[in-house]
Symmetry: C2
Subunit: 243 residues, 2 copies
DNA sequence: CGGCAACTTGAGCTACTTCAAAGGACGTGG
DNA sequence: CCACGTCCTTTGAAGTAGCTCAAGTTGCCG
C-alpha cells in the first residue's frame, strides 16, 4: 500500500489525491482555504483500531489512502461489517459525539481530519460542504441497501464473487487480466459477507478451481474475465448505473 | 389505518401530522410557505406499486400516513426489502431521475409530494431543507447499517423478534401491554428479514408459544413485555441510543 | 530455518429452505 | 346472515447450504 506524504498536500490541497472526490470536492477559493487551514493528517497501521464502537469521536474526516472497516458487534461477540471505507470516503458523523461503529484500519491508512465542532460550523456557514456531504451520504445509503440484498438473498458463492468483483472493479486501472491486492483478510471478508471464515475460504477455492479467479500469493487476486465473475455474483452483466 | 384528510393540512401545514419530523421540520416563515405552495398530496391503496425499480420518478416527498416498502429484486426473482418507510420518512433522491428501488404501499398511504426540480431548487436556495435532509439521510444510513447486522448475523428467531419489537416500539403510544397492527404481510416480513415466508410463520408461532407475543386476528399483535422480546432479538435491553 | 498467523481442507451437524397440503380469516354475492 | 371462494397463513416432512469443530498446510517475518 503506497503511503501518502502529507507534505505534498499541505499547500491548499493541490496535490491531494482525493481533492475532487471527497467532501471538499465542490469547494473552491475561500472554502477550500478554510478547510485546508483546519485539516490535519494522521496515519494508522493495518489492524489498528481507530475508534471503538460507542467511544467518543472528536473528529470527522476523509480517507486519503488505504482502507478502513466499520463493524458492529453483538454482546455475544457476533460481528458484522457494515461499511468498507476507501479513499475519499467520509468518516464520522456531524452532530454526533460518539462513533456508532468500530472503525479499524484494514490496511495502512491515512486520514485527513477536521475537528468536529469546526467542521459543523463550516457546515452551517457554507453551502458546498453540506451539499457534497449529502450527496456522499445518499451514495453510502444506496451502497448499504445494495449490500442488504447481498446479505439477505445471495448464496455464499455469490457473496464472495460479489465482494471480489467489487474490489477488482475499484482497484483496477484497466489492466487485463484484472488484478488487485485484497485489502481484507479472510476473516474480514467473512465479517463483511455474513459468513464464516471457512465458508469464504471454500468459496474462493471453488472460484479458483472454476477458473474465474487466480490467486497470487496470499493477498493477490487476478480475474481473467470480470463479466464472468459478475454473472457468478448474480448481478446484471456490469452492475447498474442510475443517474 | 386512519386516512389523512389533506384539506386539514393545506393551510401552511399547520395541521400536518409530520410537520415537525419530516424534511420540512426546521423550516419556518418563508421557507415553509414556499414548500406549502409547491406541495401536493396523493394517496395509494395497500398493495399498489408507487414506482417500479429503475422507473422515472419525477417527484420526491414525505410519507404523511401509512407505510411503504423499498425493495430490490434480482433477475431470477429473489427479493430483498431494503427499507420500510413510516410517516415523516422521505421518498426519492434529489439529483436522481430514476427510482433505485421499487416502492410499494404496504398499507393505505398518503404522500406529500414535491416536483423534483422545484425541490432541488429549494435545496440550492435555502439551507434548512438540505440540512434536515442530511440529518435524515444519516439516520437512514445508520438504520440500514443496523439492519445489515440483522441480515448478516441474527438467527431466524432473532430476526423476527427484532422486526416485531421495532414495529411495536414505533407504533405504540405507551399502552401496556404493547399493541400494534402489523403493516406487513408474512411475505413482506420474509422479504425484509431475508427469510422464507414459512420460516417467518414458524418463528412467530414459536414466539407466541413462548408467551413473548400474542396474536389478535391476522394482523394484530400484543407484547406483554417488550424487554423480554428485545432479549429474544439479541439486542441490548432497550436498543442503543447514541447522540 | 523456525515459528506463527493466516489460510485450507475434512467430516458431521443443524438451521433454514423447499415442496406439499391443510387450515383460517375475510369479503362477496346470494 | 350464511355459503362460498380466495388469499393469507400455518403445519409437516425431507433436503441442503452453510456452520462447527478439528486437523493440516502455506506463506511470510524475523
Amino acid at each position: 500500500m503506497s503511503q501518502f506524504d502529507p507534505s505534498l498536500a499541505t499547500e491548499a490541497c493541490i496535490q491531494c489525491p482525493i481533492r475532487h472526490r471527497a467532501v471538499c470536492a465542490s469547494c473552491e477559493g475561500d472554502e477550500i482555504d478554510r478547510l485546508a487551514a483546519m485539516k490535519s493528517y494522521r496515519s494508522w497501521h493495518a489492524g489498528e483500531t481507530i475508534v471503538m464502537e460507542g467511544a467518543p469521536l472528536p473528529f470527522v474526516g476523509s480517507v486519503v489512502t488505504g482502507c478502513a472497516t466499520l463493524t458492529r458487534t453483538m454482546e455475544d461477540g457476533r460481528m458484522q461489517m457494515v461499511g468498507l471505507l476507501m479513499p475519499s470516503d467520509f468518516v464520522g458523523r456531524p452532530g454526533r459525539a460518539a462513533a456508532a461503529y468500530e472503525v479499524v484500519a484494514a490496511t495502512d491508512l491515512t486520514l485527513c481530519l477536521f475537528k468536529r465542532d469546526a467542521f459543523e460550523r463550516m457546515l452551517r456557514d457554507t453551502p458546498h460542504v453540506g451539499q457534497r456531504l449529502l450527496e456522499m451520504s445518499l451514495d453510502e445509503l444506496d451502497a448499504a441497501r445494495d449490500w442488504m440484498l447481498v446479505l439477505g438473498r445471495k448464496t455464499a458463492r455469490e457473496k464472495v464473487a460479489t465482494l471480489l468483483a467489487n474490489i477488482l472493479r475499484r482497484a483496477s486501472t484497466d489492466t487485463h487480466p484484472l488484478r488487485a491486492e485484497l485489502p481484507l483478510t479472510r476473516e474480514a471478508m467473512a465479517t463483511y459477507l455474513g459468513l464464516t471464515i471457512e465458508t469464504v475460504s471454500r468459496q474462493i477455492t471453488g472460484l479458483r478451481k472454476a477458473g474465474l479467479i487466480a490467486l497470487e500469493g496470499r493477498r493477490g487476486i487476478a480475474c481473467p474475465d470480470l463479466s464472468a465473475l459478475l454473472i457468478e455474483a448474480g448481478d446484471d452483466e456490469d452492475g447498474r448505473l442510475i443517474d
